[in-house]
Structure formats: C-alpha cells, structure tokens
Symmetry: C2
Subunit: 226 residues, 2 copies
DNA sequence: GGAGGTTATGACACAGGGTGTCGTAAGTAA
DNA sequence: TTACTTACGACACCCTGTGTCATAACCTCC
C-alpha cells in the first residue's frame, strides 16, 4: 500500500481558514477544554505548524523532535503529550477532511449512482486552498517516501477506506462485510494514492483531474445502484 | 525472553520449496561470496528463522533485536549488518516471490488477455506450501497491524506494483508511464492487500479464491488486449 | 485571601531501534 | 610468515517513545 491519501495543510486555525479547529483525533491530547488547571503553553496546531516549517526547511528525518520543541519553547515530553509520534504531526486535520468526505457522501442525491458520487465527491473532499498547495505537495512526498510517515499513513488509509466502504454498502444495499463495498474502498484508496504519486512526479499539474481519471479507471465498473 | 537458541524448525530453503533462496535484496548484507576472509558465523536466513520463531512465540513488538541475537549467539551489531531493520526479517524471500511473479507473467500465452493472465498468475505467485501457512498467516497479520512492518511493506508493494505495471504496459502496448498500467498495478495490489485482510479475519478459508475474486472485482474492466 | 482540586508542564530515567568507529578474529593467497 | 580480506564484538552515540514524579498555574468555593 502506499501513500497518500490526503492533502491539506497547514494551519487552518491560525491562518484564517474558518473551520472547526478542535484538536480532535490526536489521542494523546485530551481535548483540552481547560476549565480550571494550568493553561496550555502551546497547542497541537501550533506545534504542527512549527514542525511543518522545519520539515520543509530541513527535511522530515533530519528534523528531530528536540528541534521542534526547541523552536516551540516547550519540552520534548510535552510534544509527545500532543502527538503520539513525530509523524502524527502531518495529520492534524485529517479528521476534519474525513468528516468532510463523510458529509459530502451523505448529502449526495439519491438518484446519483454510487460510482458517480465517488467520482465527484472524492476529489472535492481532497481539494485544498491554493495557499496550502506547497505544503500539501510536500506532505504527499513525505507520505510516499519516508517510512515512518508511511506507517502512520496506513492507518489513515484504513479509516478513509472505511468511510467509502460504508457509503458503498449503504447505497448498494449490501451488508458492510460484503466484498464489493470493501473492493470499492480499496479502489478509491488506490486511485487516491496513485494520483498523489503522479502529482508528486508532475507537481505542475493539478491533483483533481488526475484523481478523477484514476477513479474512473479503478472503480469497479458493474456498480449498479441497488 | 532470551531462551536459548531456538531449535530451527521449518526452514524455507531446507524445507523443499525450490526457490532461489539467495540473500539477494538485503542491502546491508553484501552478497557474502566469501572468498577469503573470516567465515560468517550466521546467515540472513538463519537469523530470519530464529526471529520468526520468537515473533510467533512472543509477538513482533515484544521481541527485541537483542532477544533475537541472544538466541542466535551473535552480537546486536551483527544483526544490523544482515538486515537494515528489525522488520526486514519478514521479507527474506520477497525477491524470490517477485521473481516468480515476473517469470509467470513472462511465460503467459500471448493469446490470453492481460486481465485473465493476472487473475490466474497473481494467486499462483502467492501460493505457499501447506507447512508455511501458519507463518504466512502470521506475517500477513503483522503486515496489516504493526506500524514498523507496514513501513517496510510499502516498499515491497511498490516493487510488486512495478512488476505488474510493466507487464500490463507491454501487453497493452502502451508506454510504461501511461496511467492505465499504473492503475492496473494499483488494482492488483489493492486486491492482494484486501484479500490478505480478509484472510487474516477468516483464517480457515483459503487465500487464493478470495484473491481471485477480488482481482476480478478490482481489475479495470475495459482492458482490451491492444 | 487562602484551601483544595485540576490541568499542563518539565525534569529525569529508561528501553529500544539504528549507526559509526575501531580493534581484532579468522580465514585465503603469496 | 606476511599481506590482504572479511566478519565480528565492543563501545559510544543519537533518536523515538514512555513512565514517573514534582511543581507551576489556573479554577471555584469558603
């Protein structure tokens, strides 16, 4: 399996993109509601931003967690209270993306076929603002090349596939355990990964058209609604 | 942990599977031709076997490299001269499998369609003797669940895909960079991964039929020869 | 203004993976 | 024997990730 599902990037919260911006998804960071108790000196997003800058400047593997925490002015131990691993920094907003995919799938018109919905919605869910393109590309490259990142990616892939498979099972009216929706999930993932590979190799082109083309190539054809 | 020496059961080379069985592919082990110089005290296969026993007995993550080398009677440093990482132990014979796939694809009759060849050959390339089933299953489980193993797996996946894509490009008469053979490679890989997932979840069933079914589901349909 | 509870943090210690270096053991060929 | 070659062990590191404990800094209630 391989790489890339996602894209997205840097700071939503700090850079003006108005989204939810909660730290959901990072297991080690316990939601930080903060009623009473010492206030946090930093946040997952702030750490992630600093880390991303360093990764871009010096590379993922040549940037140690100590480098990140020194730049952020916190202790190394604190980093691991926000992120389970160094690579987790790259996935701060994956939960939001996944939620977006789930929402887009949920609101698809009932008349649209399963495949058509996916051709349209998957690229849309992975769309990112222009100012995040650079980072999205770099992250895709990391996901495709750095082993430590790939290991994390596999878990996100599984979640991604599960969202798609659940949707496919519902729309096709078959049980979730059935092989067909499972295959649909894998096909969508494969298209996503392949398109990111192509994108990294051809950074001047846009991701979305490639992704849609690959989805049309890879999505199992005999997917009749019902 | 660290019990003594682990009787060698089940070898691969020793157990009658006629494959190449050379240590090719392990970058750190420089082919060991051994003309002159101190003779090696161990081999990649011996280390791999001992490691596999320990993994089966105590789990991958609860088995440290020190445990393995203690059982093998060599130093920890020596282990890393044979394998680039602990997880690499699991892939000793992947090059042979890959070569088998390549060979099977090469000798497919010219009349058979690209898809039909793959439906037939991919399961055959992954077939393993009955006495290796337990270990193959365990390895599949590790590949699907342990992050450190997944990271390694991604690289093998890429090789696997490349073999398939190269074959598809040739048989379809399109350039290797074309998106169609790339998609075929991804589809075959997705089917392989999905079938292993299913196999791990249903260990009593056989891998091959599941794999073939998934290949038929996932392989891009409009694959006309030429 | 405490007192007590709550939360985030830092300091420290430690296991484990992985790497570089150096000296040396144990072979082969001359 | 000498010279060359290769494999190995012993250290010394750096890095990731985790557990533990003391303490800082906030809250609310008295």
């Amino acid at each position: 399996m391989t790489q890339g599902v996602v894209s997205k990037g840097r700071s939503r919260c700090a850079s003006g993109v108005a989204t939810a911006c909660d730290d959901s998804g990072m297991e080690p960071s316990p939601s930080r509601v903060n009623v009473g108790g010492r206030p946090a000196q930093t946040s997952a997003h702030q750490l992630a931003e600093i880390a991303q800058e360093l990764f871009l400047a010096h590379g993922f593997e040549r940037t140690s967690v100590a480098d990140i925490t020194a730049a952020a002015g916190v202790s190394r131990r604190t980093f691991f209270r926000y992120f389970a691993s160094k690579a987790d920094v790259l996935w701060v907003e994956t939960p939001a993306e996944q939620e977006r995919l789930r929402a887009l799938l949920a609101e698809a018109p009932p008349g649209e076929s399963c495949a058509e919905v996916l051709y349209r919605v998957v690229p849309e869910a992975l769309r990112h603002p222009a100012d995040q393109r650079r980072w999205a590309l770099h992250r895709a490259e990391l996901v495709l090349t750095v082993p430590a990142v790939q290991a994390q990616a596999v878990r996100r892939y599984a979640d991604w596939r599960a969202v798609v498979a659940t949707f496919a099972a519902e729309r096709l009216g078959v049980p979730i355990g059935d092989l067909v929706p499972v295959a649909v999930g894998h096909a969508v993932l494969a298209a996503t990964v392949a398109s990111h590979e192509y994108w990294v190799a051809h950074p001047d082109e846009d991701l979305e058209p490639i992704l849609e083309r690959l989805l049309r190539l890879l999505l199992p054809r005999p997917l009749k609604p019902q």
